[in-house]
Symmetry: C2
Subunit: 296 residues, 2 copies
Amino acid sequence: MIGIDWGTSSFRAFRLARDGSIRDRRQGPRGILTVPDGRFADRLREEIGPWLAAGERHVLLCGMVGSRQGWVEAPYLPCPAGPADLARALLTVPFDWAEVKLVPGLAGQDETGVAEVMRGEETQIAGVLAAMGPDGLACLPGTHAKWARVAGGRITGFATHMTGEVFAALRGHTILARTMLDGAAADPAAFAAGVARAGTTGGLLHHLFGVRTRTLTGDLAESAAASYLSGLLIGHEVRAGLAGVPPGTVVHVIGAPELTALYAEAIAACGGIAERLNGEAAARGLALIGEAAAWN
Amino acid sequence: MIGIDWGTSSFRAFRLARDGSIRDRRQGPRGILTVPDGRFADRLREEIGPWLAAGERHVLLCGMVGSRQGWVEAPYLPCPAGPADLARALLTVPFDWAEVKLVPGLAGQDETGVAEVMRGEETQIAGVLAAMGPDGLACLPGTHAKWARVAGGRITGFATHMTGEVFAALRGHTILARTMLDGAAADPAAFAAGVARAGTTGGLLHHLFGVRTRTLTGDLAESAAASYLSGLLIGHEVRAGLAGVPPGTVVHVIGAPELTALYAEAIAACGGIAERLNGEAAARGLALIGEAAAWN
């Protein structure tokens, strides 16, 4: 089968063997926002035509392709939900050259009962359930970072943090832009200093202004300011994510190696225990849900 | 004398009587960023020519006009500092048609020892010292909101919160922009709900995403989303500003009536005591510092 994680700004397709291993892959910045006039079927055929020609007949999609801005809007499945629930709730998408189905996103609540939604992360979490075990806490860094609670092999609830998007907005559209060198290399010491600052009094809105004053006073190099800001934001996110979590709980951090490394460092600095899961979580999740749907 | 609060984006000039009362005023969006090629003298003459022709000979400036991006860079005066200290530290600016002096900004520290700077707010605080008394806490809402500690009639330290600028960056440059109606009227209930949300667990970066989910689920109207976001940010600022403040401390909120009303409401909702000071704090401060410099 073919598994595709089709997000807002990226497209990642996997040709999967019967055992779930990746036979081939395609990826690039061709997210749903780059598809003109709703021509998702044409785009899909362009992307995976050779695999279809080679005999693949089943395509499983996850991510924002199932949102209102995507191909077909898939209603959110309510929590608690695991791979079997997702497999039962697949939505069929009309496509002439193969059978195409869509993994629905999840609707849940944060710890205080406020509504939450995800699209794509449920599939990544499904992909790491075997590695993380049936109960635990999963953290998926990114534009909209997710912290999901898992019990009995199902996602029971989750909270989203706007960390990645807030970083970009602050860096690009506030006075902090002036104090940051473009293209500077990551600075681990500045990142750690930002994480540590997040643990002091004053609040995030005050800590942010310190990025400016610390560069003005020479306390922070302009080449290190972006790493410091990143540490500040991730530090605030991690402290909030760990609050109320029982001691000894392992946080399973899922994503690209650079980002999971930063989060693992921040989680350790905040007194938590992090386990990094850098593999192809989405590909494994798609394979697993396809298998649960008796489809591979 | 003439007193001028010349900021980044605004110009407010006051013709002051000997008793400090305002005889005349000019104000507009002609901040320092609108002055071409450093021609501050020309701009000043354009603005206050008629008052100079009427016999005024002393001009006292405060605000970002004394920054690196302004007319002349005035070194920051270290805290603690009060009106008499500021008056002794005035910087003379070359100008052919009157004697022009500049109130320096202040350098201080927040509660944790991190460097802080202000330009202009020191003059506003000087202007309300008589009303607030020699000891207390002053809060000046805005793009970069200031919380200043005052003891013995002098500013001893302060903390800046990027609240106003973060609001603009989030509203203009993140996914939250899509969930907010432009030009919607202020919504007091949504503002209060945002302030209340700031007091719950989860952290600001998570609470921000709730602006989106609450509008998606219909829990929050798009016309109310900007007020809710404002309440969320001001609520987080106020909680951080009140942390560690002895019970019974009055927070003197200085600024325009709309903004001081919102802050007073948020402070009360967070268990603090607010006193609003909506008068012309900058004009009074300039008059007072001019008087201390034996200049009016």
